[in-house]
């Protein structure tokens, strides 16, 4: 595992959860011609550019982090809807 390629959130998640069956939704940042590494690793990653999304096991994260074509692995975070939950004054 090349921990230097993992963002803080993914590093924390991998440390927190030792369950080998758990899967992580991540962004995979690749070199310009690095798409083939995902196919070779058997990863079904979406997108065509240098930033792909994928759902990976901890073992796949470790394997990809050791590949030269992979620059960065970032844990997907959860967004919030941007409506304002406010109470009216009746």
């Amino acid at each position: 595992m090349d921990w230097s390629k993992l963002d803080a959130g993914l590093a924390a998640a991998l440390t927190e959860d030792a369950d080998p069956t758990r899967r992580f939704v991540v962004f995979v940042h690749l070199d310009p011609e690095g798409g083939g590494v995902l196919t070779a690793a058997g990863v079904d990653a979406a997108g065509e550019g240098q930033v792909r999304s994928a759902t990976l096991s901890a073992r796949q994260v470790a394997a990809l982090s050791d590949r030269d074509q992979v620059r960065r692995l970032v844990l997907s975070s959860s967004l919030r809807l941007a409506d304002q939950a406010s109470e009216p004054d009746t």
Binding site: S76, A82, D83
Partner: protein
Amino acid sequence: MRYEKLGPALISAVEDFRQGGRAGLAVHQGALGLVSVAPAVKPARAVVFLHTEAGADLGPLARLGLELNGGDGAIRTGIIPLARLAELTEQALVHRIVPAGRLRLLLDVARGAVNVPAFTSRTGLSGRGVVVGIVDSGIEVGHDSFAGRIHRVWDQTLNGNGVPEGRYGAELEGAAMTLSRDTVGHGTHVAGIAAGADETYGGVAPGARLVVVKTDLLTAHVADGIRYVFRVAADLGCPAVVNLSLGGQDDSHDGTDSLSAVIDEVSGPGRIVCCAAGNEGNDNIHSRLQVRQGGTRTIPFAPAAPVPGGPPVVASLIGWYGACDRLDVAVVAPSGLQTPFQPVITEGSPVRSHTRAEGSVRIVTPGPDPANGDHGFLVQVEPAATSVPAAACGRPGGWRLRVKGAEVTDGTLDVWSVDPGSAQLSGSTVADSMKVGSPGAATEAITVASYTTKTTWEDIFGDPHEIGLELHDISDFSSEGPRRDGVEKPDLAAPGAMIASALSVHSPVEPAFLIDSLHALMAGTSMATPFVTGLVALLLERDPSSTPEAVRAHLRAHAAIPDHQPGDWDPKWGAGLINAWKL
């Protein structure tokens, strides 16, 4: 007469009817759904909402002249002769009767405030030939506002084979789209503002086609959703604008996070993304401070108190500072006990965990982020159920983040609470700035702040309400910029409070925000963003190859901050309120 069962406006009308007969009702006719007020064959009657028990058989009440419309829910609509109202209130199954108010054109208030009707009538633009992508909580497929214009729905939350952009969820077309439900109501409301076709509460681009992604809100899947919309639009040969009325704070606030990178990558001529600035304007979620070589600084923070038996509360703080600095990070528990200062760790796992009586602490201090070269760290605190309450923050005994300058050249540190609901910051370093997170921080996005065009209204029952916002001013909840690297975000402001738009029948709505059975009021930069999305759709109809840069510059050039010089920019207003008149 059981007056307690009547809405206030109906009581007033009934009293005037008693005292002045039909003539007494004249003053109420403009506001209430009164019919047959003028002398006529029929008696004076009122259109009412009647509260009863769900499934109750009200057929026998026809003897009182009550004419009910369809439905068997707890709230029925119908017409009642005013002369029989007293008898009706005596019926056990009748819980409450409120008059149907005569509605004002609330969204028209917003549209008119920024001259959208004048612009569309002058140009004839409606968004025809443009795809509006809604990546949100879904859409009410059966709502009349979208009839025949929803091209496709990708519901990421359903089981299915997915789409080329992601092998999960289900892609739906035609009648099958009704399998996807907007149980939140947010996406339906947003879609209505951007592209709803409705005589009363019409959207900005009512001629546009809709491609909808019901997302699970994970950033990676939102990115997939954006790609999906642009691909489907390309298949149709249409330009597209994607609306993202969502956001977060778990990023570097400089537009280099992964979702922002995808937005920058896929945006281009005829492919534009509009994003909400966020609603953290009133939240203490950001601190900016200077750390000196060898010096320490402290930021108090208050984790939300965990509820006994409830889900665990994790307060997450992120910090970002320059590539040339190295800061050590520690956490002080309410007891005063501190974790060891943790340096940047570039070999092996950068994660260290600590257990204290007051809760558990995890600190992550990796090496520089390749995306921007800067250092980011993460602190997660899970208070024990018996820990010091949130109110103790800022006083001796509260939780504190401590940083020490190990190698300092610049020393600027920014810290955010990832979730305002889980932790808020306090102390002298709290700053009302740099709260526009991803995806609003994306360089190529058009990022929208909220302006308030309406603060009072009457709900479906005729009850008056007022929201605690300043009318004709920037909404106080709207998040402030700029980005951490100084880039100007938000770009501009648009009406975002209070906005009437389409209601999903599958979503719960606070009655106070319900306008009628098909529309509701909402507020937020979520509502301001589709306003601009709709305008972008109009501009793409005029020039399908417009670039994000050109459209953003065009919109900003037609925005202004009151009492400011043209071209001024403000952290809360951006370039100011859009004026569509001369777009």
